[in-house]
Symmetry: C2
Subunit: 434 residues, 2 copies
């Protein structure tokens, strides 16, 4: 039974939108230590650290051709087919994200352009652990390829026998990622950021991970390497009216809750009775779940908010405002007219419209990306897209006449800012100085 909060005053909203608290003082010191050791010790440090932390270390970090081939033989065809369908949908969607170059004459003789170019070397991190997250490879490598990134490497931990899940290897190769290192944790992030004797440093690091990985990404992002986004525990918000099915909503909450004990699920609904029927469904469905103990913990961070009012417009407005305040990674709108609300959402990662759009559709196969902003960052970040693997370069080409026409403007402004050399670089070209 999760907490039900009825008609909270607006002053309480901030507290209700709080994420599970992540305290990481200890992690901080350990991650700094790992980063320094890899920076200074290279491959040797990677070996020692992997042995220390994982209790074993593969003979070779680099996945061999044989391993790829073995993996391909081991993945069942039904799973391959599913992955191929998902990949096609992800490509179909993401292809639209490629920004076209443009050129504009801002004044006679002043041509300005912009084009997007791919990041040359990118590193993907895929966590190991209890489940092989091959879907995240699709979500990262597909836009990376569409962007045209020439070098993509991938790090993922192996098991004690030195094996990486076959479906991870098969999916990576399917996506054109052929350089895979069996390397996990903060040390993998360090290797991709600083480089070692065998691993070339990358310009940008992508992918989810535990707190060590997240902290390491945060650190290296202050040292000249870009990262995809700051990552926190996964979260979902469901907005429901009386047309919604409490069983569907409970299923969506649980699919969020099974991710980890610090996951969060928030439901907004219109009356107590509905809230209680969700709770009943949670109880019932939780019993069927293999990961029930994880989900149970996550539900402790979760809550149902009831906005009960006879004024329909007012209610809609409360739903929208509360959802924009929470800024959820995933937002499911299970109402009669979901677009009425969706069109006014200004902060969310990915929005799921109507009763037949569960989060798992977007997690795997609808086509949208599942690497999304958490912790309220959906106010300013979007999910991963092709643009995440590209960066803009601007150009300007002035003819002598173009510069002449703009010279007065530039000189006036530069001198007002006290930057005489800026003015002089124009004057010397237009014959106003030498």
């Amino acid at each position: 039974m999760i907490e039900i909060i009825k008609n909270p005053a607006e002053s309480e909203w901030k507290a209700l939108c709080q994420r599970a608290n992540v305290d990481d003082e200890v992690i901080d010191a350990r991650v700094r230590n790992i980063l320094t050791r890899v920076k200074e010790g290279g491959d040797n440090a990677l070996k020692t650290l992997t042995q220390e932390i994982d209790g074993s270390c593969p003979a070779n970090f680099l996945v061999s051709e044989e391993e790829f081939e073995k993996a391909a033989a081991e993945v069942p065809q039904t799973l391959k087919d599913a992955i191929l369908t998902a990949k096609t949908n992800i490509e179909t969607f993401h292809r639209n994200e490629i920004a076209a170059p443009f050129e504009v004459q801002t004044m006679p003789g002043v041509i300005c352009k912009r084009r997007m170019v791919p990041v040359r070397r990118v590193g993907l991190y895929i966590p190991g652990g209890s489940a092989p997250l091959f879907s995240t490879i699709l979500m990262l490598a597909t836009p990376a390829k569409l962007a045209g990134c020439p070098e993509i490497i991938l790090c993922t931990p192996c098991d004690k026998q030195g094996n990486v899940s076959p479906v991870v290897l098969w999916t990576a190769r399917l996506c054109g990622v052929n350089t895979i290192y069996k390397l996990g944790g903060a040390q993998a992030i360090a290797a991709m950021a600083y480089g070692t004797e065998t691993i070339r440093p990358v310009h940008k690091i992508f992918g989810p991970g535990n707190r060590y990985v997240t902290k390491a990404k945060q650190y290296v992002s202050t040292q000249g390497v870009a990262i995809d986004m700051p990552a926190g525990p996964s979260e979902i918000m469901v907005l429901a009216d009386e047309t919604a099915n409490p069983a569907f909503i409970a299923a969506d909450m649980l699919s969020q809750a099974e991710h980890g004990p610090d996951s969060q699920a928030i439901v907004v609904c219109a009356n107590d009775r509905f809230a209680e029927s969700i709770n009943k469904e949670l109880d019932r469905q939780l019993k069927q779940l293999p990961r029930a103990s994880i989900a149970t913990k996550a539900l402790q961070n979760s809550r149902i908010i009831v906005f009960e009012t006879s004024d329909r417009e007012k209610q809609k407005e409360l739903y929208i405002r509360f959802a924009n305040t929470y800024a959820s990674e995933h937002l499911i709108i299970e109402t009669k007219e979901p677009w009425e609300i969706a069109s006014q959402i200004t902060a969310a990662g990915s929005v799921f419209i109507g009763h037949y759009s569960p989060e798992s559709a977007g997690d795997y196969a609808s086509g949208t990306n599942h690497t999304l902003p958490t912790m309220g960052l959906a106010t300013s970040f979007g999910g991963i897209g092709v643009d995440s693997f590209m960066h803009a370069i601007s150009y300007q080409e002035l003819s002598p006449e173009g510069l002449n026409g703009l010279s007065k403007t530039i000189i006036e402004m530069a001198e007002a800012e006290g930057l005489q050399a800026h003015a002089h670089a124009v004057k010397i070209r237009v014959g106003k100085s030498n």
Copy 2:
């Protein structure tokens, strides 16, 4: 006379592309302290800190209507005209950056969409100090307005009499920024990030600043507030062949060098004689500069690289590869066929094509943005654009048939990842479970 390096071996490139070292251990502790004090003490802390650090504190942080009006009367019409011209060009260019929403049916009954929405509340920081950087207001507020950001606030320090430069106030209002706080340094960043009794917290902070400001932005970016990009000292690279004018190149280097003692200017040219003639021009022009002492220091971090070879293709290739290794914030290509090189540049902030495109054109008025990636981050970051003030939201809407068609794919993948609740959220909707 700056250092000339001839035909450096590729093993030396990394060292040659090194930026001036910024050591900030002391700054780090001071900035943390300032952030904590503002977070806990709000407006009172802002007052105490401003008094402590600046030696005075304005009676009101908020700029009044009277001050705006007074400012408007004080800015000379010639400067207003220049700013208006620049603003028009910046708008003309940036308008093209607005990404259109798109919608795609990835499979029958599976509709996916993406649209960009503006960041709701943004904060701009404009440094005070020796020169009023009103041009940066144009570069930040113009794309913010084009993005449609509903709330834009601006912080900038005032002088001991409580005055902000009139041209800063006039430009801000011209760009539609009406909420200006007289507040500088790390405490301004803290106020925008955490909020105080009078200042609402923002979702994203933009703008340049000294090391305290930069450090503060870096910190708050790990605490749930987005920032534009990690900022370092300004830099320029010039690629020149025999068609270039050494006097122009020296002027470009000096316009970079006058920014600050840690600025950097790198020139790549084709022979010693040309390199020496640049050095002569630097000597000559430096004498005319009001900010000669700053520029002299910056030139100590600067160098001229000579790639001398009779093989033109090889030379072009060296220029391109070295420029991509350095990844300059500003790249001027003063060669006979500049696009031959420009089209192969994969890492640069803004590129200036030909002999009549000085950096100051882009700094003020060509139309491109002057807030650009430094410190080699042009490998993965672009300059500020309209997209910097927006974020993507994705949507998916599945019909019952759409979900049914995709159900096998989702269930297969979810179960392979060990996420049964993800599979169940689909099964319960398509009648495969309850």
